[in-house]
């Protein structure tokens, strides 16, 4: 794994999270000579600390919805055909509405998305409680997304990285880029704390660190860290069959087209209620989001905020006096329009962006890896990604 670093390669992927590992995997599978470098350890950033949600619900029709659905297929293939145990399940997801107004707002939301190819369904309280008897009877109804689900994000990163390595990719941890050498508008090499590698392509898959790498070639990227705090419960018997998210949170935090995402002020703190029971039985509870730079400490206030929200939706947690065993905070890779930043960069041949995935990186990782591999290997992508080009920010 460590060993001496290669002197030359075709593609260098910077960033050992889900995007980087998946990209390295698809490139290696396509026969490319690929190096994946990570300044810390694999999965030590946002990919290693999140709820592991795979969701199509929020996606507006168009490339984002196409990408999310295609990514789930990649996960299917990876976990079923290739038998990597990554705890991927299309268990379904309920976006729960606490009020009639929320429920009404969801009607056009569902209609638009279904026209775009999704298969969402509005369900009323009775059906909701029949399917999830532990939910609070005070809920009004929900949007049911049968294909949404979850994956163990850590296992997903390691599986892609290990699979990439099996296909010949070289992985270097504790390897941090310090400079990028370009000549005549072409990427030539990347210099790191462990030495220099000549390369034709550099893929910036750094998450919140992406601006630092882009700065090396003089590019400014509008990515801002948005801290997300989560709680983790003790392991418990199955109390939920599907992922639960409250409609208010989706409206506040995700680019659903419901709220005006541009109006989401950077000073705003949002409190959501998301609950995902892992295969092992722990509940992952999200979360409090705020903009505090790269401060990844948790706060006292997030504990009651998250707990109160989840107790309203899942009163059974009080009955069983479920214990919280851990909290963590990581970053949601926020972009102003909450769309990813993908693809080639004008004026610098060989430099490719793969970041700005907001809070959907885990879901989108495989498809982004596949599309970027196609971009390099065959020069085009099966799903158009032009609207995610960095040039949109002018």
């Amino acid at each position: 794994m460590m060993g001496k670093m290669a002197k030359e390669t075709e593609v260098v992927v910077v960033g050992g999270g889900i995007i980087g590992s998946a990209t390295a995997y698809y490139l290696a599978r396509a026969g490319k000579d690929v190096v994946l470098m990570e300044k810390n350890e694999l999965a030590s950033g946002s990919s290693g600390a999140n709820a592991g949600l795979t969701s199509t619900t929020w996606c507006p029709p168009g490339p984002l919805l196409q990408m999310s659905m295609a990514s789930l297929k990649e996960y299917d293939y990876f976990s079923q055909e290739l038998a990597w145990d990554i705890e991927f399940e299309r268990c379904g997801r309920f976006t729960v509405c606490e009020t009639e107004q929320q429920f009404e707002e969801m009607k056009p939301f569902v209609e638009v998305r279904n026209k775009g190819g999704n298969s969402l369904r509005l369900i009323d309280r009775n059906e909701l409680l029949e399917l999830e008897p532990n939910l609070s009877p005070s809920l009004f109804g929900a949007v049911f997304a049968p294909n949404d689900g979850h994956v163990n994000p850590l296992y997903a990163v390691y599986a892609f990285a290990d699979a990439a390595r099996e296909l010949g990719a070289k992985i270097y941890e504790y390897t941090e880029p310090v400079a990028i050498n370009a000549e005549h508008g072409c990427v030539k090499a990347i210099a790191t704390n462990k030495g220099e590698i000549k390369t034709k392509y550099i893929i910036n898959a750094c998450g919140i660190g992406a601006p630092v790498v882009s700065e090396m070639v003089g590019l400014k990227i509008p990515i801002i860290p948005n801290r997300e705090q989560m709680l983790v419960s003790e392991e418990m018997p199955p109390i939920l069959n599907r992922v639960i998210i409250n409609a208010g949170y989706m409206k506040d935090v995700q680019p659903t087209g419901l709220g005006d995402s541009a109006a989401r002020k950077k000073s705003t703190q949002t409190v959501g209620t998301v609950c995902n029971q892992t295969k092992k039985g722990n509940l992952l509870l999200v979360g409090v989001n705020d903009f505090v730079g790269e401060d990844e400490r948790t706060t006292f206030e997030s504990f009651p905020a998250i707990s109160e929200g989840i107790l309203r939706v899942l009163p059974i947690l009080r009955t069983y006096d479920v214990q919280i065993i851990r909290s963590f905070a990581k970053f949601y890779i926020y972009t102003p329009d909450q769309k990813p930043i993908l693809g080639k960069v004008d004026g610098l041949e060989g430099f490719i962006m793969a970041s700005g995935v907001n809070d959907y990186g885990i879901c989108f990782g495989p498809i982004i890896g596949k599309l970027l591999s196609d971009l390099i290997c065959i020069g085009e992508t099966t799903i158009p990604i032009d609207e995610f080009n960095l040039s949109r920010f002018g």
């Binding site: 003790e234 392991e235 418990m236 018997p237 109390i239 039985g281 059974i316 069983y320 006096d321 214990q323």
Partner: protein, 102 residues
């Protein structure tokens, strides 16, 4: 077994005893002592079976850190018995795996 007489600590006079139910059986406990102590005093050492390998477990650290001595207490699984005090009529059950939902 209780250590009633002790050369340094002297004799304990069990003042107030209470009764708790362990897997359906009533046993005596001393007010204020942790559940784990009451069980050990009644020669019970096996507190739970693990989820993956179904292995028996009991007290290990006795100060609430290792979480190995957890049992189902009044219906609540994963209760650390070494730091949870007994209460009159408390219902304690051997825990299997991560417990179950009634």
């Amino acid at each position: 077994m209780r250590i009633i007489d002790h050369p340094i600590l002297g004799r304990i006079e069990p003042e107030r005893t209470i009764r708790i139910e362990v897997d359906g059986k009533m046993i005596e406990a001393l007010e204020g002592e942790p559940i784990a102590a009451a069980l050990v005093a009644n020669s019970m050492r096996l507190f739970r079976f693990t989820k993956k390998y179904n292995e028996p477990r009991g007290i290990f650290c006795a100060i609430g850190r290792c979480t190995d001595c957890v049992m189902v207490v009044n219906g609540i699984p994963n209760t650390r018995t070494c730091v949870t005090q007994v209460e009159e009529g408390m219902k304690i059950e051997t825990q299997y795996g991560s417990g179950s939902i009634r």
